[in-house]
């Protein structure tokens, strides 16, 4: 198996196997994803990039779909942001 990928989620360092999605990496830490416009917690629904419930901030850019992006070394992820 190839070397794990290291990234930061809400400031915590995590190591996950390459090919893991950002969504899965967030779930491994048990973190919430986003808040709806009325302030309710939401998390991935479709897993395939159509529902937009998994949006988080990645490397400074808000509203990115976590289920569509494989982790990258050094990625900075912020949930509920």
């Amino acid at each position: 198996m190839s070397a794990p990928v290291r990234l930061q989620i809400n400031g915590h360092g995590v190591e996950v196997p390459p090919g893991t999605s950002v969504a899965a990496a967030i779930a491994r830490l048990g973190l919430p994803f986003r808040r709806s416009v009325q302030g309710h917690w939401r998390a991935p629904l479709c897993g395939i990039g159509v529902c937009f419930e998994c949006r988080v901030r990645i490397d400074g850019l808000a509203q990115q779909r976590a289920c569509m992006l494989p982790v990258r070394e050094g990625m900075q992820v912020w949930t509920d942001a």
């Binding site: 416009v37 850019l61 808000a62 509203q63």
Partner: protein
């Protein structure tokens, strides 16, 4: 045949405001609209309530209307927010326009002040570096136009206005209209059908002027004011077949609305990517951070442009009981409330608060 004191045809923001105003004055009103309330140009609009000062008549109507908008400020459905308008100067040439613009606004009683480059970036840090300064109109605001139209209609309905979900196909030689379902209503008619005006009143020329808008996902805190380039008026009032100008608006949701384009001759509602490209490239020149934001939707709408750019407000020449309120081009959200008050005053034989003469439909001799 049902008879009314006033039959308002069209429930865009203008017709909605007319029905509201007439029912408030105690008239028995009918409102005729085949589509959703505010589903025409009103649904496409940016909802910027702005004191446009390029023409004295336009400014007078805008100024009058902005005062009336105060009554909507606390209405949650209107999504009213007084974010102010920040006009930015791209060049020294632009900046040289500021004193004259200030003088015009001041003469009309609109508070405004010049802003130097330092303050410009304090107000809008996302603006591109190197701009010359600008002008701030703090009292300008934004609303969500179709919601306002619905509110006005609901208020009119509560006062007993009769709503006909149908289109008017014909205005009678005497007073009254025939509807698409062939039923007839009798009484004085006020036509507020926006771009469709010539279908009922062919003597009043109107040209549709297509516009595109883009809206982003939620990025709160990126933009704080409605921000326009001072050259906006060149685009708005030029006669070019097509033009674009930088114009962005922060929605209360944190979304950013980006305009604007103007096109004569384009009659289908499809989004034109070449036009969107021009419009966005213009916007990026002023606000490069926009490039990386996600757009959720693009849409288009048609501004109703009269023969001389001023709306037709008043009695149709040669017709005793036919009135019109249409042709507000790109400012009809702002000027809807004042237009309605002015026309209803004329219908009632009252003296309007501002001089109605520049908007009198009789000016277009046909």
């Amino acid at each position: 045949m049902k008879s009314y004191d006033l039959i308002v045809v069209g429930a865009g923001i203008v017709g909605a405001a007319c029905a509201d105003c007439a029912s408030e004055a105690g008239l028995r009103v009918a409102l005729v609209e085949p589509g959703p309330i505010g589903g025409g140009a009103t649904a496409a609009a940016m909802g910027h309530l702005v004191a446009m000062d390029d023409d004295p008549a336009e400014l007078a109507l805008a100024r009058y209307s902005l005062g009336l908008w105060q009554a909507m400020a606390d209405l949650p459905q209107a999504e009213y927010r007084r974010c102010g308008t920040l006009w930015v100067a791209a060049s020294e040439e632009d900046r040289a326009r500021i004193p004259a613009k200030l003088a015009r606004l001041d003469a009309a009683g609109v508070a405004a002040r010049a802003v130097d480059a330092r303050e410009l970036y304090r107000l809008e840090p996302a603006l591109v570096a190197g701009l010359a300064g600008g002008l701030l109109v703090p009292a300008d605001a934004v609303v969500f136009p179709p919601a306002v139209a619905r509110h006005l209609v609901e208020r009119a309905l509560r006062r007993g206005t009769a709503f006909y979900r149908s289109g008017a196909s014909h205005i009678g030689a005497a007073a009254g209209v025939r509807l698409h379902d062939h039923s007839e209503l009798s009484g004085p008619v006020l036509v507020a059908t926006g771009c469709a005006l010539p279908q009922l009143l062919p003597g009043l020329p109107l040209r549709p002027r297509k516009g595109h808008l883009a809206i982003t996902d939620r990025y709160p805190g990126t933009v704080h004011h409605q921000v326009l380039e001072l050259g906006y008026a060149d685009s708005a009032h030029g006669e070019a077949d097509s033009s674009v100008a930088f114009n962005v608006q922060p929605r209360p949701t944190g979304q950013i609305l980006i305009g604007s384009s103007r096109e004569y001759g384009a009659t289908t509602p499809e989004v034109s990517l070449p036009m969107v490209r021009r419009m966005l490239q213009r916007a990026f020149r002023f606000m490069p951070v926009l490039r990386q934001l996600d757009a959720l939707r693009l849409w288009t709408g048609f501004r109703p442009v009269s023969a001389d750019g001023q709306p037709y407000l008043g009695r149709v020449a040669g017709r005793r009981d036919v009135w019109v309120a249409a042709g507000h081009e790109g400012l009809g959200i702002t000027t809807s409330l004042g237009s309605a008050r002015l026309v209803v005053d004329l219908v009632l034989g009252r003296r309007p608060a501002i001089d109605p003469q520049p908007y009198d439909p009789a000016r277009v001799a046909r």
